[in-house]
């Protein structure tokens, strides 16, 4: 087999796999423009489902809940996780190992187990009379559940960064008269902020996307994934297709923008490096 053939084979294989991955999404989006309510007959083009989606009270309130829940739980998880990382960093190796292993539990455990174990806790609390007559289930339990599965991701994102930091910078700040609090906010936090930000973004996406853990802990509240689930259980309306088309575009947009920003920063850095190198040469020449 010559090189040309094997390259052609590679291309074909990749196209087939990507076709497999994108075919269902393409179908979903195509049917969002279908005039007919059927999932199989395509009768004509319409934007009507997008319009009716915008008036669908259930979906809009679910979306609102998902966004607020994601923001609040991610902020709290990021704060809790960052503080935890700093605290864990100054512990003995043995306690670090124990805490990290326990923190791994929600990451590696099947989501359904994290979901039901939290649910059992809240059921038990309800039996003990905590949370009043209606029990705890609702906003509180959703928030607790989301923070719980998000914090480990913060820790595992920020900890490597903290280990890489130069400890003498913090000591220098203290030597130069900073109080520990100032040194924390002016020296430590700015250095950690890229890792903290990316941890925050990871939390947001996990929180918005989570279905299984929320499903067991939502009570009667509906986050967006739960609303989608209940829509797929009933007679389905093409509004769900319109919704997936919009979500796909939003995600694509976010990825493209963040990519463009990344490569912009990269080019800027490269340019700066080249400038520095050129400057260095000039100095040497002089």
């Amino acid at each position: 087999m010559n090189k040309h053939h094997s390259r052609l084979l590679q291309r074909t294989y990749l196209v087939l796999i990507f076709g497999f991955m994108y075919l269902p999404i393409a179908v979903l989006i195509a049917y969002s423009f279908n005039e007919n309510k059927s999932r199989t007959v395509f009768s004509g083009f319409t934007l009507g489902w997008y319009k009716s989606l915008l008036h669908n009270e259930m979906i809009l309130s679910a979306l609102g809940l998902s966004v607020v829940l994601a923001l609040v739980s991610s902020v709290l998880a990021t704060v809790l996780g960052t503080l935890a990382t700093i605290g864990i960093h100054s512990m003995s190796r043995k306690s670090q190992l124990i805490i990290n292993n326990i923190s791994y539990v929600p990451v590696v455990n099947p989501e359904i187990i994290t979901g039901v174990s939290l649910m059992l806790l809240f059921v038990l609390c309800g039996r003990l009379g905590i949370g009043g007559d209606n029990g705890l289930f609702g906003w509180t339990t959703l928030l607790i559940a989301h923070i719980t599965f998000n914090v480990p991701y913060v820790i595992f994102n920020v900890a490597p960064k903290l280990r890489q930091l130069d400890p003498s910078l913090y000591t220098a700040a203290l030597d130069l008269g900073c109080t520990p609090r100032q040194a924390f906010f002016k020296v430590l936090l700015p250095q950690l902020s890229p890792a903290i930000l990316s941890a925050f973004l990871i939390c947001l996406t996990y929180s918005i996307d989570d279905f299984i853990i929320s499903y067991f802990n939502c009570g009667t509240m509906q986050t967006l994934p739960i609303a989608i689930y209940s829509m797929t259980r009933k007679k389905v309306s093409p509004e769900i297709n319109a919704l997936s088309a919009i979500m796909f575009l939003v995600i694509l947009g976010i990825i493209l923008i963040s990519n463009a920003a990344d490569s912009h920063v990269y080019r800027k850095n490269q340019a700066a490096i080249r400038r520095d190198a050129a400057g260095q040469k000039e100095v040497e020449a002089a």
Binding site: Q10, Y13, L14, I17, F18, F20, M21, P24, V27, L28, Y31, R39, T40, L80, L83, A84, I86, G87, H89, S90, I99, I102, S103, Y104, V105, P106, V108, N109, P110, E111, I112, I113, V116, S117, M119, L120, I144, I147, T148, V151, I155, N157, P167, S168, T171, P180, F211, Y215, F216, L224, I228, Y229, T232, I240, S244, M247, F248, I251, I255, N259
Partner: protein, 273 residues
């Protein structure tokens, strides 16, 4: 420096959180699994799981099938991607991850449209006079759903492992007379073992515990462990004690799977983060 006694207190809120919302819930699961509804100790929950052996067997079998298919499909993808120029790699990686960002309920729902009796695939085949086939509500559809949803989780760690394989190693094997099969068996597979191990856990664990895929694509006849557990907690057969016992067994299965794959490589979790 940072390692002062005082800064340890920063972890205190999390430690309390971890104890209350990670450790205690798991202990409650164990406690419920070992008691009856009156709170008395019993092994009945665990022994009555014996009635559901077929469901557990089916879950393990379908999840194993999905894992193997994912591995076979993803291995060439990981290899081809790792050999591309780096700017192309970046774009392709984005393409692999993009479907993961779509809500997985929507993606699975899309397969319902495709696989139905008068769905798109049957319509398409009908143009050539083939079919219609009965595809939805079969165990094959469940496996397809698992493969589709978790394929990126296999591609990414494989790709990460394979980017570390230098071209010159493959070329050296070629120069020394290896045929493609030998290169695969003696160079590529051994060197991508950490990726394989991570990929297997990341596909097997969610597959064996899913309850949405089986419900949407498998109809009523393809109940999995996840469905059973869900039925005990939120469904018709409300029985928290039995559900906890099932969760406990599922956890043991997952632990066994993970200890099996972690023998491949100690750093298996690195590809995940």
């Amino acid at each position: 420096m940072l390692r002062t006694k005082n800064s340890r207190w920063a972890a205190a809120p999390y430690l309390v959180w971890m104890a209350v919302f990670i450790v205690v819930p798991l202990l409650i699961v164990i406690w419920y699994a070992l008691t009856n509804s009156d709170g008395a100790f019993t092994l009945e929950n665990l022994t009555s799981i014996g009635r559901y052996t077929s469901v557990f067997g089916r879950s393990l079998l379908l999840a194993a099938e999905a894992t193997v298919i994912c591995l076979v499909l993803a291995f060439p993808v990981g290899y081809f991607l790792s050999r591309l120029r780096s700017n192309k790699q970046h774009i392709m990686l984005m393409l692999v991850m993009l479907p993961m960002w779509m809500n997985f309920l929507l993606r699975t729902y899309a397969w319902m449209t495709l696989l139905e009796k008068n769905g798109l695939i049957n319509k398409f085949l009908g143009l050539f006079g083939i079919g219609p086939f009965n595809m939805i509500n079969t165990s094959g559809a469940v496996v397809l759903g698992m493969v589709y949803n978790y394929l990126p989780y296999m591609i990414l760690p494989l790709y990460t492992a394979m980017t570390k394989i230098d071209d010159s190693i493959i070329e050296a094997a070629q120069d020394l007379g290896s045929n493609p099969g030998q290169i695969l068996g003696r160079v590529l597979i051994p060197l991508s073992k950490p990726g394989i191990a991570t990929g297997i856990t990341m596909v097997f664990v969610p597959s064996v515990s899913t309850f949405i895929i089986s419900r949407m694509l498998g109809g009523g006849a393809n109940l999995l462990i996840g469905d059973l557990i869900e039925l005990q907690f939120l469904g018709n057969s409300y029985n928290l004690n039995l559900g906890s016992a099932m969760s406990l067994v599922l956890m043991v299965i997952v632990l066994l799977c993970m200890s099996f794959t972690s023998t491949f490589d100690e750093e298996e979790m690195e590809g995940v983060m």
